[in-house]
Symmetry: C2
């Protein structure tokens, strides 16, 4: 089972911390944060890390595409181009492999999901986010998340979520829609599904350090005024994101990539 | 006593909250946050708000220069130009007034202090910060502050302060140096002065809402995991910033503007 996830957002938004904690793996072991003098000339680059993990008994070859440099430069006009070009290249590879003779062992390197990190400033999406999301939405399943949500009080979280949903609507940006749950599911499951969907975009805090709270080991961030329990639903939507992304919908994300985004690409390519 | 302060930083960094709480006044009553579709075309603009306040028995006419649009556009290449042009214009006005016949009633509209808001991402200064600070440092007393510091654990605060000081050093950016305290001051005062200086750049959290904690009314931010007491020195450097800026050094900030930054301007102007 191949799955590729792309993480897009400025440096310092907690991307590596989140991705490592989502998959309980260290994707960024050899990462170096460049000093700002190096960043002065940079554009977005693409870095791939692949690891084999086991999630609920299923062997998963997970590839994370990191996009260092995105949104960091003074002029971010091309920040998202490296991302969209990479996505298109994978479609291209797949298309050529599919039209080839040996169709039985095609490796699927297409990007199945893009986690887009929105800074928790509190006033909504920024021009950079709008432009990047417009380009990404037609190519990949976009899941926007509010990064470092422990910067926001519960009232501010709700206000920002509403503002982001409004910004997406006004700019006609289509984000990934989690599928409807089966009619035969029980009421409890349907209720949980509704609650998950009502929380979108997820406001996530994450941590790679474990704290002992009341005898239990929990992921958290220790502040002088309290401890953020990353997996506590009243502190952060981390648990909801992990449930939606890993437990329930990886399969659907792959299918939508094939049936929607790849089909779009094929249609454009064939009609040229 | 005229004092002008400029606030520079992206929207959403808590600038208006901080400035209102520093001076216990509402400078931003009629402010509107533009929707992101308006921001798509914007460059930095200059907005002035003046109010008369009384600080420790001294009547102060305080002008705050806000810089909406700074750092918000996709291409921020000119973000700081509006700021530096404004500063130069005030020098120009003062210069002309000084060389005029009626020198006795010159109104001093020069910018005495620039609070530069650095986002608490955790990796240090960004290219935008470096370029903006380079242009500002030669014209105005720059006091960089880490905004929304309640995003950072104590360990992260220390790491970011060190990284920022290192970035400033490497890029030869001269920030405002608080003056040495008098030799005749007592040991307690000198100790406090050393502690204040060791905390630079200040990591500030601010709030315009009051919370009741243990029977006292305090400025704070209420999270599900605890309450940030903005004026508590172990929670935020807000108190230190207010002490340095308002209680002790407004006079020195004005003098340094006259003796250093204005003199630089005059020297360049006269030599043309
Ligand atoms: N406040 C807060 N800080 C976080 C969170 N996640 C990570 N951080 C901190 O943010 C800093 C940058 O995190 P990192 O994962 O390296 O960000 P990246 O550059 O986007 O990959 C580190 O100091 C992290 O400890 C979070 O959810 N909330
Ligand atoms: N976490 C945190 N949020 C803050 C702080 N100060 C203000 N905010 C919040 O950040 C948001 C934007 O604040 P505002 O003062 O309007 O920012 P401005 O656009 O820079 O003037 C509001 O929701 C504030 O409540 C702070 O110190 N820490």
């Amino acid at each position: 089972f191949d799955f590729t996830l792309m993480a897009v957002g400025e440096s310092g938004l907690g991307k590596s911390t989140l991705i490592n904690s989502l998959f309980l793996a260290d994707f960024y072991q050899d990462r170096k944060v460049p000093p700002v003098s190096e960043k002065l000339k940079r554009t977005t680059s693409i870095q791939k890390h692949t690891t084999e993990i086991e999630e609920r008994g299923v062997k998963l070859r997970l590839t994370v595409i990191d996009t260092p440099g995105f949104g960091d430069a003074i002029n971010c006009e091309d920040s998202w181009r490296a991302c969209t070009e990479y996505i298109d290249e994978q479609f291209q590879h797949y298309f050529l492999a599919e039209s080839g003779l040996n169709r039985r062992h095609i490796q699927d390197t297409r990007v199945h999901c893009c986690l887009y990190f929105v800074p928790p400033y509190g006033h909504g999406l920024r021009p950079l986010d709008i432009e990047a999301l417009k380009s990404l939405q037609t190519r990949v399943n976009v899941i926007p998340i509010i990064a470092k949500a422990d910067t926001l009080t519960p009232g501010e979280v709700r206000k920002l979520k509403d503002q982001i949903l409004e910004d997406l609507r006004v700019h006609q940006i289509q984000i990934y829609q989690f599928p409807e749950c089966d009619e035969e599911e029980d009421e409890e499951f349907k209720k949980q599904d509704r609650e998950l969907k009502a929380a979108i975009p997820f406001a996530v805090a994450s941590s790679d350090t474990f704290i002992e709270v009341a005898g239990k080991k929990l992921r958290g961030r220790v502040y002088p005024w309290g401890i953020v329990e990353v997996e506590n639903p009243s502190h952060s939507d981390f648990g909801k994101l992990r449930t939606m992304l890993i437990q329930s919908h990886m399969h659907d994300l792959k299918e939508t990539t094939q049936d929607l985004h790849y089909e779009n690409f094929r249609a454009k390519t064939i009609s040229l």
